[in-house]
């Protein structure tokens, strides 16, 4: 019978060594062809060595384990290694793809080894595996979509700075630019206010005018002007923003 081969990919050396030792103990016939310490190395190792099994850490520099699995062209059983990810584990379980959790335990690894032996004995349809993998990748990628903008990238002279959104009083459209106003500074960015609105946390950043979005956590007072318009004042500054009629309801129904 042909010898079964595997590779191990994890960015942390101790974990690679630990898994190698455990596998030697529990599955002495398995031949480990090599170890990779990032996603790119893992992919070329798989392409070059053509192992039967690849143990892939999910969070690796260069390329995630998920993306490595996506790019692998030869038939290779993938076992994902993950620390704590309720979401990923659910995805794996529902598609019956193998995974092991960190910290590794002998019993869990033994179960995985038994399953791998059985699968390698049979001949699984590669198409079926592809389909499963695609579903998992979809779940994981959806999860990875970042939620809201937390830092605003601005240029000041030759410097590139990142402004935490919590420091921003308001965003105001001005010609082709958007003014980013903090308590002490004013920056110009090219992102239109419409795009910003979609990227900012809507509970904290309110559109109060066609050309203005305010950080409600920075509001100090709301007053009515002589022309009966609502005017927003901000903490520790003289800056004000007018609320247009169509947005006044935001402040009345609180």
């Amino acid at each position: 019978m042909k010898q079964i081969t595997a590779i191990i990919a994890d960015d942390e050396e101790n974990l690679r060594k630990g898994l190698t030792l455990l596998l030697e103990r529990l599955w002495p016939e398995l031949k480990i062809l090599g170890q990779a310490q990032n996603g790119i190395e893992a992919l070329s190792l798989i392409e070059f060595e053509k192992p039967d099994i690849a143990f892939l850490d999910i969070k690796m520099p260069g390329m995630t384990g998920i993306n490595v699995a996506k790019k692998v062209s030869n038939a290779c059983k993938i076992v994902f290694i993950t620390a704590y990810d309720h979401f990923a584990v659910q995805a794996f379980e529902s598609e019956a793809v193998d995974y092991i959790l960190k910290p590794l335990t002998q019993n869990r690894l033994k179960a995985t080894i038994d399953r791998l032996k059985k699968q390698l004995g049979e001949q699984e349809q590669p198409l079926d595996f592809d389909l499963k993998m695609k579903k998992i990748i979809q779940v994981l990628e959806n999860k990875d979509v970042p939620e809201y903008l937390r830092l605003i990238k601005v240029k000041t002279g030759s410097d590139l700075r990142f402004i935490p959104v919590s420091q921003v009083l308001y965003f105001k459209a001005e010609d082709k630019y958007t003014i980013v106003q903090t308590a002490t500074n004013e920056f110009l960015i090219k992102t239109p206010i419409k795009d910003l609105e979609n990227d900012l946390e809507p509970k904290q950043f309110w559109r109060v005018h066609r050309s203005a979005i305010v950080n409600i956590e920075k509001i100090q007072a709301i007053k009515r002007s002589f022309s009966n318009q609502l005017i927003i004042g901000f903490n520790e500054t003289m800056h004000t923003i007018a609320v247009s009629r169509s947005y006044e309801h935001l402040f009345k129904q609180m």
């Binding site: 960015d11 942390e12 050396e13 101790n14 974990l15 060594k17 630990g18 898994l19 030792l21 990032n38 790119i40 969070k59 520099p61 260069g62 620390a83 704590y84 990810d85 959790l101 960190k102 910290p103 590794l104 970042p146 939620e147 809201y148 903008l149 937390r150 830092l151 605003i152 990238k153 410097d159 590139l160 700075r161 990142f162 402004i163 935490p164 959104v165 919590s166 420091q167 308590a183 002490t184 990227d199 956590e217 509001i219 007072a221 709301i222 007053k223 009515r224 009966n228 520790e236 402040f251 009345k252 609180m254």
Partner: protein, 343 residues
């Protein structure tokens, strides 16, 4: 609140009296050819003030929006009638006019003028009152909302402080277990570091202020754990040149920034990188500079800095505008975070 209401009412009466005087002058000199200014003045005041009184009284009881218009009209009409009655009383007592004379020659004028002047004046007052009311309402709601928000934020903060990232915990434990078989001494060292890191983390969640030395100590433990995990992909330096180890400093300011540097800067970079923490005092300002040579922030990572906003918010809560957090791109690569707090 009561006092403010009384003040508002007195103010309303004074303005009414001024209006009445103007009406009296206008009536006397433009309509009645300058005769009997005193009588017209008295009647005008009696009318105006009784309208004002009735309307204030009605306004006091009729609070619902539905009754606004009806209440205003009732108040106005009753006010005009009472004013007329008082005017008659005045004329019959001091001028000896009998009721028929009054009804024929005075009442119709008084009534018509009462309504004609009363309507715009009451409109002026009621709308002014509404604006004051809505402003108070907005202010009140805002205070309520801010209090609620503050409470919610405090709860979240406490939770965040108490929370130890599971990824960090499980990965570290996985290392400890692997190291049992590889290097028992390193394994022991890592457990000690983790133990101390957890102890300080849990302690500091209950404290508003710790010392700079404690925060640096905690950060060092955290970095030491990563040093064992990442091997030579990570190097770090902590340079404390303040000579002020007992300086009171809020917890969770330096460590979260270091955590960000590792998570978004150095871990995702194949070659790894260096973190340098410099603490200096310049002109009564403590400056902490955290420099990493990691991947830096790209467009996507700018959505990831949850810890940074937390740190910025905490600094503002504690020091107001006296403290600052600046994030810059480090040259040639990575991020430089500069924290400044007053001594």
């Amino acid at each position: 609140m009561q006092r403010l209401k009384l003040k508002d009412t007195i103010y309303t009466f004074i303005i009414t009296a001024i209006f009445d005087t103007i009406i009296a002058v206008v009536l006397t000199y433009m309509v009645l050819d300058g005769h009997n200014f005193f009588d017209v003045f008295i009647i005008s005041q009696l009318m105006g003030l009784s309208i004002c009184l009735c309307m204030s009284y009605v306004a006091h009881f009729v609070d619902g929006k539905k009754w606004d218009v009806a209440g205003t009209i009732i108040g106005l009409v009753v006010g005009v009638l009472i004013g007329s009655l008082l005017s008659w009383g005045f004329l019959s007592f001091f001028r000896g006019n009998d009721f028929t004379y009054f009804f024929k020659h005075v009442f119709s004028y008084v009534f018509v003028f009462g309504i004609v002047f009363g309507v715009p004046i009451s409109y002026f007052f009621s709308s002014r009152e509404k604006i004051i009311e809505s402003e108070k309402q907005i202010q009140k709601e805002k205070i309520k909302r801010l209090t609620m928000e503050k409470e919610a934020a405090m709860t979240t903060l406490r939770l965040l402080q108490a929370q130890i990232e599971p990824h960090f915990l499980f990965n570290t434990l996985a290392n400890v277990i692997s190291l049992f078989d590889i290097d028992i001494e390193k394994s022991r060292q890592m457990l000690i570091n983790l133990n101390e890191y957890l102890r300080i983390s849990l302690q500091r969640t209950r404290q508003e202020m710790i010392t700079l030395a404690q925060e640096l100590d905690l950060t060092r433990k955290y970095l030491e754990i990563f040093k064992i995990r990442m091997g030579n992909r990570l190097s770090y330096e902590i340079n404390d040149k303040t000579n002020k180890s007992d300086f009171a400093f809020p917890p969770l300011i330096i460590q979260p920034l270091v955590e960000n540097s590792i998570k978004y800067g150095i871990e995702p970079k194949i070659s790894g990188g260096t973190i340098i923490i410099d603490c200096t005092i310049k002109e009564n300002i403590l400056e902490i500079m955290i420099t990493d040579t990691g991947k830096g922030l790209d467009e996507d990572a700018s959505k990831a800095g949850i810890g940074i906003n937390n740190v910025s918010q905490r600094l503002e809560n504690i020091y107001g505008s006296a403290a600052s957090l600046i994030l810059k791109q480090n040259n040639p690569t990575g991020i430089k975070a500069i924290i400044r707090v007053p001594l």
